[in-house]
């Protein structure tokens, strides 16, 4: 499958701090790619390197077939960016900014602009100085999605939006994907990522810690199972991939590695299952595992 973005061994230093440390990421064409990581992990830095705003210290990048630093201007006609902290000119109106950014990017579809303004309930006659954070973000989103581009780089675009606007945003991203466009979505909001993303990359301290589809990542974690049986469940602990077993009479709860679920269920039916509740790992739990501080990192080997 062709790639929209491929990053290999990307290094970016700010003085003595290493913000990106041999970071890798691949974004396929026409996918919505989630980009997750704790504060200061290097998400915004990666996006800024992709935009040619920052100069990389090492690594290879292919962005839409070009080099983000050398071919910046040509590439920028084919992509749109929503920054993490949208800053606008206080004396210009939202409508003026949308037109300006669209024009500077290479053109804007007026019908699309009107549709987006309507969808995001944005008043384009207000001066940007009087917009709230969420409204500034809406200006940037409308400006981005009113342009006819191949790639969207969105840095925490929903952090200031109210729930209705988040729905409008999701609709917009889904539409863009349907039209064959590619979206990179950096976010701390799991629900957005779960709802929208085909694949995700998790970054931590400038390194890739995990990448793949949500399902693939889920397989790397455990499912919580609560079961009520007719007889006491025996020998559960002996099965591979079962953890944290707790019994209360005929109620049993435990965690199981996602790829062992089948074997465990076969074991359980011997004891007459009366009810069973299973919770797949949420993205949030996934996060916790990968974000987890040094302590949980060190715990891993001894668990295994």
């Amino acid at each position: 499958m062709p790639t929209a973005i491929s990053i290999f061994g990307l290094v970016k230093n700010f003085g003595s701090t290493r913000a990106l440390d041999a970071f890798d990421m691949t974004v396929w064409d026409n996918e919505v790619h989630g980009f997750l990581g704790p504060n200061g992990a290097g998400k915004s830095t990666t996006i800024r390197v992709l935009l040619g705003l920052l100069r990389r210290d090492a690594g290879e990048i292919d962005l839409l077939g070009g080099d983000p630093w050398r071919d910046a201007v040509a590439l920028h006609r084919r992509l749109a960016y929503v920054p993490d902290d949208v800053k606008l000119w206080p004396t210009l109106t939202g409508g003026e900014v949308i037109d300006l950014m669209g024009k500077l990017r290479g053109g804007l579809d007026p019908a699309r602009r009107a549709e987006m303004l309507d969808r995001f309930k944005l008043d384009p006659t207000k001066k940007c100085g009087t917009y709230s954070k969420g409204n500034r973000q809406k200006v940037a989103i409308v400006a981005a999605f009113a342009s006819d581009v191949e790639l969207f780089l969105l840095d925490e675009p929903t952090s200031g939006l109210d729930p209705l606007m988040v729905m409008a945003f999701r609709e917009t991203v889904t539409e863009a994907r349907r039209e064959g466009r590619t979206v990179v979505l950096s976010s701390h909001i799991f629900a957005d990522v779960e709802a929208l993303c085909d694949r995700i990359t998790i970054i931590r301290q400038g390194k890739t810690v995990q990448a793949g589809t949500l399902d693939e990542l889920r397989h790397l974690t455990r499912t919580l199972i609560e079961v009520e049986t007719e007889r006491t469940v025996d020998d559960l602990e002996k099965l591979p991939g079962v953890h944290a077993v707790e019994r209360e009479g005929l109620q049993t709860s435990f965690q199981v590695d996602s790829d062992e679920i089948d074997r465990v269920l076969r074991h359980l039916v011997q004891f007459g299952v009366k009810s069973l509740h299973s919770a797949p790992p949420s993205l949030e739990e996934l996060f916790m595992r990968h974000y987890g501080d040094e302590v949980s990192e060190q715990k891993k080997p001894e668990e295994a």
């Binding site: 915004s44 800024r48 935009l51 040619g52 705003l53 920052l54 100069r55 910046a72 201007v73 040509a74 920028h76 006609r77 960016y81 920054p83 902290d85 949208v86 800053k87 606008l88 000119w89 206080p90 004396t91 210009l92 109106t93 409508g95 003026e96 037109d99 300006l100 950014m101 024009k103 500077l104 990017r105 290479g106 384009p124 006659t125 207000k126 001066k127 100085g129 009087t130 940037a140």
Partner: protein, 544 residues
């Protein structure tokens, strides 16, 4: 009310510790400069020499712009010669400090404490005022001691120090007010510096229009001098009459300015804001839709107010020229001194050269301030969004450079025209005066562009230090320049640093191509180097 000041003391300590290098460096540098200056102007002058230098300041109207003659004593001589320079240095120190601790660092400064203690709405402003007043008092004492050690009368030495401190404190108050009016630190600095320039020129005009006594060694200033804090400092007449009571005027005006700043801060905080909420067009006009159009839109308000400001100023200067002529008739007793500088016509010309030179410095402030907008847009504005579109870095920077370079040139044209036409109207022969003075204005453009080029270079190389470096370049160019540098008797090689020294003294001298071409080449070189550096560096968003 008092609650609004909670935490002032704590913030005062924060301000002192954060400024523990910059402020002491300023104070020591000013003090060291004072030591250097008083040791250059040695006390070996005979009484006759003292009379003749005092006459130099008393008799020549154009020279009065820079110093007030207050009798034939060594102390008075030092005050006539050095007063304006030190007043400007102390004022700039105070302005930069207050802006640094209110606008620029307001948010971070508060953030440090807000977690642990409750901080009142005005605590930050109040703590900045406390530290800056303290710094000025300290400087006054240092200057008093230096002059006393020089062997000058003790009380007068401290009166001199107090006059400088008074001016510093006044401009601290003005900067506090400017910080509330302007939305950005760049705007606040520019506003306060423009106030300083105005105060300097108004005091100078008061002195020029004043009367000199029979001996030619003491000028009684005309009323405009009393409109300017720089004028008040001169009217303290240290080493002559030591009018300590004028400190009351400084204290009162500072309190008024500080109260104004506090009042505006209240309004700002209660959400009314200083600019009313307005609506505008829902779509952009075609003129806006390019980098050049955008910069013009952002800059046009500033440019138009400057155009009106320098235009009005030019009219005043042109009108004063008639008084200059009238004064020449009164000053018949001083033929000998006039001869030294070459005849009556030249006096009017010399006055115009002086005025134009000062206006050139003031207009250069416009260029510096305008170019600093680039940095503001980068660190805390939408510049990164613009450069993430199909606008190249070169295009982005050039649109600013073009706008500011042309705007600066236009201001020089406006000044030349207004001075020339008004002078022509009052003295006759509009066409000739206008032509002369337009040239006198335009010859300064290359020098202003050199300073602008240095700002672009600073922006390209040291983004986080751009504002500091830019104003440093400006102050150096101004201080080593034709008026101040010559007055301080700085060595020629130091004076040659300033681009303004190389500007032909029009009218009077004729225009020569070499210096103009040289300055233009320098400006292009600096700008080009800055552009190259900017294209190679990271876009630096400090608020990350």
């Amino acid at each position: 009310m008092s609650q609004a000041f909670t935490g002032t003391l704590a913030l005062t300590w924060v301000a002192i510790s954060r400024d523990r290098i910059q402020l002491p460096v300023w104070i020591l540098a000013v003090a060291a400069f004072m030591v250097a200056v008083v040791s250059i102007w040695n006390g070996d002058l005979s009484q006759e020499e003292l009379v003749s230098v005092a006459q130099f300041y008393g008799v020549q109207p154009a020279v009065r712009m820079f110093g007030l003659a207050s009798g034939a004593t060594l102390g008075a001589y030092i005050m006539s010669r050095g007063f304006v320079v030190f007043a400007v240095l102390v004022a700039v120190m105070s302005i930069l400090f207050v802006v640094r601790h209110t606008r620029q660092d307001e948010d971070t400064g508060r953030a440090e404490l807000i977690g642990s203690a409750s901080v009142g709405r005005h605590a930050n402003l109040a703590s900045a005022f406390i530290v800056v007043v303290g710094a000025n008092v300290l400087l006054a004492v240092l200057i008093g001691l230096i002059l006393t050690f020089k062997g000058l009368p003790v009380a007068s030495s401290f009166a001199a120090g107090a006059a400088f401190a008074g001016i510093g404190i006044f401009f601290a108050g003005l900067a506090g007010l400017a910080a509330q009016l302007a939305g950005t630190s760049r705007g606040a600095t520019g506003l306060a510096l423009a106030g300083l320039g105005l105060a300097f020129v108004v005091a100078g005009i008061g002195n020029i229009l004043g009367r000199v006594d029979e001996a030619g060694v003491r000028v009684v200033s005309a009323w405009p001098a009393w409109l300017s804090p720089v004028g008040w400092g001169q009217q303290m007449r240290a080493f002559e009459e030591d009018h300590w009571s004028l400190l009351g005027l400084f204290a009162f005006s500072f309190l008024v300015l500080a109260a104004g700043a506090v009042f505006l801060e209240t309004r700002r905080d209660t959400g009314k804001g200083l600019l009313p909420e307005r609506r505008g067009p829902s779509a952009a006009s075609p003129g806006l839709l390019s980098p050049v159009g955008l910069v013009w839109r952002l800059q046009r308000g500033v440019f138009l107010s400057w155009a009106v400001g320098v235009g009005l100023f030019g009219i005043v200067v042109g009108a004063v020229s008639a008084d200059l002529e009238a004064m020449l008739d009164e000053l018949e007793g001083f033929d000998e001194i006039f001869e030294r500088i070459g005849g009556t016509d030249v006096i009017v010309d010399a006055a115009f050269v002086t005025f134009m030179g000062i206006l050139a410095l003031v207009i250069t402030i416009y260029a510096v301030q305008g170019l600093l907008r680039m940095r503001a847009e980068e660190s805390d504005g939408p510049a990164e969004s613009v450069m993430a579109t199909a606008v190249s870095r070169r295009q982005w920077v050039t649109s600013y450079i073009l706008n500011i370079a042309l705007g600066t040139a236009a201001l020089f044209l406006i000044v030349g025209l207004t001075v020339g036409v008004t002078a022509g109207i009052v003295m006759g022969d509009v066409a000739a005066w206008a032509a002369d003075l337009v040239v006198a204005g335009l010859v300064h453009i290359p020098a202003a562009w050199v300073v602008a080029g240095a700002v672009v270079l600073a922006f390209g190389l040291f983004p986080r230090r751009t504002a500091l470096l830019a104003w440093m370049v400006f102050v150096i160019a101004a201080v080593t320049g034709p008026f101040i540098g010559a007055m301080l008797d700085l060595p020629e090689w130091i004076q040659n640093i300033s681009p303004f020294i190389h500007v032909p003294a029009v009218p009077g001298e004729s225009v020569t191509a070499a210096p103009i071409v040289g300055l233009l080449g320098m400006a292009v070189l600096l700008t080009g180097a800055g552009l190259l550096a900017f294209r190679r560096r990271d876009i630096d968003v400090t608020s990350v």
